[in-house]
């Protein structure tokens, strides 16, 4: 539901960075979005299509890298990747609370010219 305002922030950051780099056009915007960020990539794409016309990023491609949730298992003293957003260790099945990755909402890079 809030993907439009997330995308607004992402795009304004991207356009700022592009201008600073002397770009005349943005070809690709790459985002990293964590599984636990609460953001739906499809909705981001939708917002992107709505927001880019008339900007330097008009016609650009949006590339979203999904970052899976990773937790630290205290019992096994190791990190594990969660495929379902929950913190159950695949080995010992204990529930870990220590989130190591998965909340990211990041503008990773731009392709410009």
């Amino acid at each position: 539901m809030h993907e439009l305002s997330i995308m607004q922030s992402a795009l304004s950051l991207a356009l700022d960075q592009a201008r600073q780099a002397g770009a005349v056009r943005v070809h690709t915007i790459r985002l990293r979005i964590g599984a636990l960020s609460g953001v739906v990539p499809d909705a981001l794409e939708f917002a992107f299509e709505a927001l880019t016309p008339g900007t330097m990023a008009e016609g650009a491609q949006l590339a979203v890298e999904r970052v899976p949730a990773r937790f630290w298992c205290v019992a096994c003293t190791r990190e594990f990747q969660s495929d379902d957003m929950f913190a159950e260790c695949p080995d010992c099945h204990s529930l870990s609370g220590e989130l190591r990755a998965g909340r990211e909402m990041e503008l990773a890079s731009l392709e410009i010219d």
Binding site: L4, I6, R25, L36, S37, E58, E106, L107
Partner: protein, 304 residues
């Protein structure tokens, strides 16, 4: 409910087609003399008398009458470059949230961000919490709603100073809104600030407001599997409050399942089972907040 739903989108984007056409069909490599053998439509005039050593995006507006020319220029490829950015999309909100946090810490204020679906009982729970804490902790409340100040009025019944944020079409509170609301709230003598977020279990999870603790409410009427349906929100909770326990029997609430699901989505969260109506669980909740407040004050020796 929110402007972010994306209504009113433009339809197909004709510009995108021609941009692609220019780029793919006419990628010009500009380190050579132009020797276009193609026909230009009327009104087209670019100067072919000089070499183009520069690498700029090629935006000739020429329209080729014949589609069979096949010169393989490529301006964009050679000029294209990647800029690494690696910055948080919500960095502005995060920065303002940290500013709020510093402001709160300097005053020894304990700050709660209270989140739930609409109708879970946030307002009543906060009102009763304020009453319960009144002898020891003086509380102020900031309440966010899409429209109306009904909740603010109900909260004022507790005797606490209340500031309303009407978000209009925005489905969550942001750090900046809280920062502005603080200017309207007299913080003198306050120990605790409770922020009642907009009723929504998705969007507010992404926005730090500068709080010390996130409190997520789940009422027994909502179904035991809610934590499994909204993992990002529950995962971010420091405390999960189960509300409306007085209705548990009437709605066939399965306590074991609910607790197991909360544990799964929020393994480290403290859980309180409460009823604002009967007062169940409010003593334990009060004790917890008093202790949190003491710890908060101990963090900043300069705080009053």
């Amino acid at each position: 409910m929110c402007e972010n739903c994306g209504c009113g989108l433009p339809g197909e984007n004709p510009v995108g087609v021609s941009a692609q056409h220019q780029e793919q069909a006419h990628g010009h490599g500009h380190d050579h003399e132009h020797e276009h053998g193609h026909e230009h439509g009327p009104g087209h005039h670019h100067d072919h008398g000089h070499p183009h050593p520069h690498a700029h995006p090629h935006t000739h507006a020429h329209s080729h009458a014949e589609a069979d020319h096949d010169h393989a220029h490529d301006a964009s490829d050679e000029a294209r470059r990647t800029v690494e950015v690696r910055r948080a999309i919500l960095e502005k909100n995060d920065r303002l949230a940290e500013r709020n946090r510093g402001f709160f810490r300097a005053r020894g204020l304990l700050v709660l961000n209270v989140l739930s679906s609409p109708g879970s009982g946030k307002t009543t729970f906060i009102r009763e919490s304020v009453r319960k804490l009144a002898p020891e902790l003086k509380t102020g409340v900031i309440v966010g709603d899409l429209a109306t100040d009904n909740d603010a009025q109900r909260l004022r019944e507790s005797g606490a100073p209340v500031v309303q944020i009407t978000t209009g079409t925005v489905c969550h509170l942001e750090a900046e809104m809280v920062g502005r609301a603080l200017k309207r709230l007299d913080l003198t003598g306050l120990d605790l600030l409770i922020i009642e977020n907009v009723g929504n279990l998705v969007c507010p999870a992404s926005y730090d407001l500068g709080e010390d603790l996130r409190i997520v409410l789940l009422s027994v009427t909502e179904g035991e599997d809610k934590p499994l349906k909204y993992p990002p929100m529950f995962q971010s909770a420091g405390v999960v409050v189960i509300s409306k326990m007085d209705l548990a029997q009437a709605c066939g609430y399965d306590r074991d399942t609910a607790l197991a699901n909360i544990r799964r989505a929020a393994p480290t969260a403290r859980v309180f089972e409460t009823s604002a109506k009967t007062g169940q669980g409010l003593d334990a909740w009060r004790e917890f907040l008093l202790q949190q407040h003491q710890e908060r004050k101990a963090l900043d020796p300069l705080a009053p």
